[in-house]
Point group: C2
Chain length 382, copies 2
């Protein structure tokens, strides 16, 4: 009875769509190779007649801005481009202010849209601008790193860093559309791809043992860029979308997504976010190993689970131990101070994501800080 | 059957409560004389065990901080005080950044609260800080001006100014509690009380003819500080709460609250927000007169309505004509440029609040800018 147009047939083959279900703020994440070239048409379908401010960084601009801009122009979308330097240092007040001013200077109105073309830094910064200018403008994400495609572009967390820590200033602001072109990832340095893969593996570890098993079997194809890559991105987005739909503002279950992140963030902070030494996904990889080892310490899991996690993370080339980080690390007390200032603290007691097995993580509140400090002291001296 | 405690009986006599109905984000506005002295107990009831950052300005601090701080301490509430200079100039990026950093330095957590003790400037600035630190902290308003009690502390609009205009950067962030101590208004300069009163009169003009009639009969008692003042504040808050509950993010009906504000903002901007020449409520008063005169021009109302509005606003001592503003005003084209950059613009056509009579205002979209410019040209040469 239904007369499906040929283009939709084609779409179903070429692209996967994950729906993030948030009532009136629901949106699609479209995943597949070659989306950049048809971004204009897809954005125009969601925001007809809107003017756009494309926020991107200089590295991404060199590689992908011409193709993206061409696609927008062909779809008749008037747009301005606002560039920031590549790197985490752009997530600061000064650039937030400058971008807000630039968007206003371009006379974008409330119904117009901010587009983030870039990785997590660009997405977080542009998202906070979109949340704040005129108390909230439309926002479209075109993530260009694996990390951004599977993590930061899903769920509406936006923000900048403060001198007190990462992502401490920001907003929850959901996008209207996410376009994840997996072919773009071919241009990503291997180290960045690996770092993003840590978040992919995280979805298996936190709640989906069959997915972790699938990754153990298929990770090489995910790295190589076959249909398995699209599948891994889509399953990761679906996993995050499910959690976010249940708990948008991280009152409860969403905290599971922080598996490995409390330890990971403290390590990133300990090296002053020097990406030569450690990037976010590497911190998450080491952090996930620590979360498993700490769970073992509490008799929640056995050595077999530790071995399996370690084997997979090592196989893809991710660091798994604090000692894998080049250079000197600070003492456990410093790491504990950083953890205490981490925003996942609640009323002085520590909240950690622990696990009872692969795919069986859970939120543990009220952990004794002394237990964690002793564990870290031991890990630092190994 | 119900055993009402004596304290609730007393409360019902001394204080009025307006409920802002926003589902899980609903909150109470408590109104009456002497609330400052029991603020601690009331805040502790809403946020038990929370630590507080009290944001206030130097003028308010001199008058009311000791009493407020004492009330918090007596209720066992640990708090830090963060002061900003009094005046609109504090609504800027630099202070937003400093306050965010100070709140983080004080190690407030997500469940802790930001308290705004002050007028609209402090409320808007502190609210944006509360919306942004850790992507959203609890927020409590203790408005100390009539304007803040009847307008800015209700409805969740927060923000700072940009060099492109007022309130262009911010967030919708609802408070958990609003305490409007009407005795505090005894310390307010008459000019500020009058300016706030313009917003009170607005609620009558936009949708409640009986309230406007009541104000015509009772405004002297409202100024004097009798129970009529509490009544006027409560009816104003209720009017705003009703609109906000229907249209939290100003997609439709909430725009009615902007009666007089598009013209008013353009006048404030035209005098570079020099409060010696014009404060917000005065701009709103002149703006409301202009909105009525423009409605007459479009044959929507007759001279009798104009006369009645003019008589009441004049009686309380508010300015009603552009020529009431001291000093030179810019030409109509400059005002039109300001209006075009105003965030109430949608896709290039102008949106104004017009009226078909007292209490019968409505949103008019798609007004021809030329008509408005001709009207302003005439008003500026009178």
């Amino acid at each position: 009875m239904t007369d499906t147009p040929a283009s939709a047939d084609l779409d179903a083959e070429r692209f996967q769509t994950v729906r993030v279900d948030l009532g009136s703020r629901s949106y699609d994440i479209v995943i597949g190779r070659g989306l950049l070239q048809e971004a204009g048409v897809r954005i125009a379908a969601v925001k007809p007649g809107a003017r756009l401010a494309v926020i991107t960084d200089e590295t991404v601009a060199k590689l992908h801005l011409d193709a993206f801009s061409k696609s927008l122009s062909e779809a008749g979308l008037d747009h301005v481009v606002l560039k920031v330097p590549a790197g985490e240092a752009s997530k600061r007040f000064e650039l937030f202010e400058r971008l807000c001013d630039d968007v206003l200077a371009a006379r974008l109105e409330r119904g117009d849209a901010i587009v983030a073309l870039g990785g997590g830094v660009v997405g977080d910064l542009a998202g906070f601008v979109a949340a704040s200018v005129r108390r909230g403008m439309s926002f479209i994400q075109v993530p260009t790193t694996l990390l951004a495609q599977v993590d930061s572009s899903v769920g509406g967390k936006t923000g900048i860093n403060s001198r007190h820590g990462k992502n401490l200033i920001g907003a929850f602001h959901q996008p209207d559309l996410v376009l994840a072109d997996t072919a773009i990832l071919d241009t990503l340095p291997l180290r960045d791809f690996r770092a993003g893969y840590a978040e992919v593996a995280k979805y298996g570890l936190l709640g989906d043992e069959p997915f972790f098993t699938w990754l153990e079997d298929n990770w090489k194809a995910v790295f190589a860029g076959g249909p398995e890559r699209d599948e891994a991105v889509a399953r990761s987005c679906q996993a995050k979308a499910d959690v976010v739909a249940e708990d948008e503002h991280e009152a409860g279950r969403r905290a599971l997504l922080n598996l490995g992140h409390t330890f990971g963030h403290s390590l990133e902070s300990a090296v002053s976010y020097e990406t030569e030494r450690l990037v976010h996904g590497e911190g998450v990889s080491i952090g996930m190993m620590l979360a498993h080892e700490f769970s073992q310490r509490l008799d929640l899991i056995g050595q077999d689970t530790i071995d399996r996690v370690e084997a997979h993370l090592s196989a893809v080339g991710l660091p798994i131990r604090i000692s894998d980080i080049p250079g000197q690390m600070p003492p456990a007390d410093t790491l504990m101070d950083i953890i205490a200032q981490d925003k996942k603290v609640s009323r002085g007691s520590l909240t950690f994501i622990l696990t009872r097995g692969i795919g069986r993580s859970f939120v543990e509140k009220g952990l004794d800080p002394a237990t964690v400090r002793d564990f870290l002291t031991e890990k630092l001296t190994r």
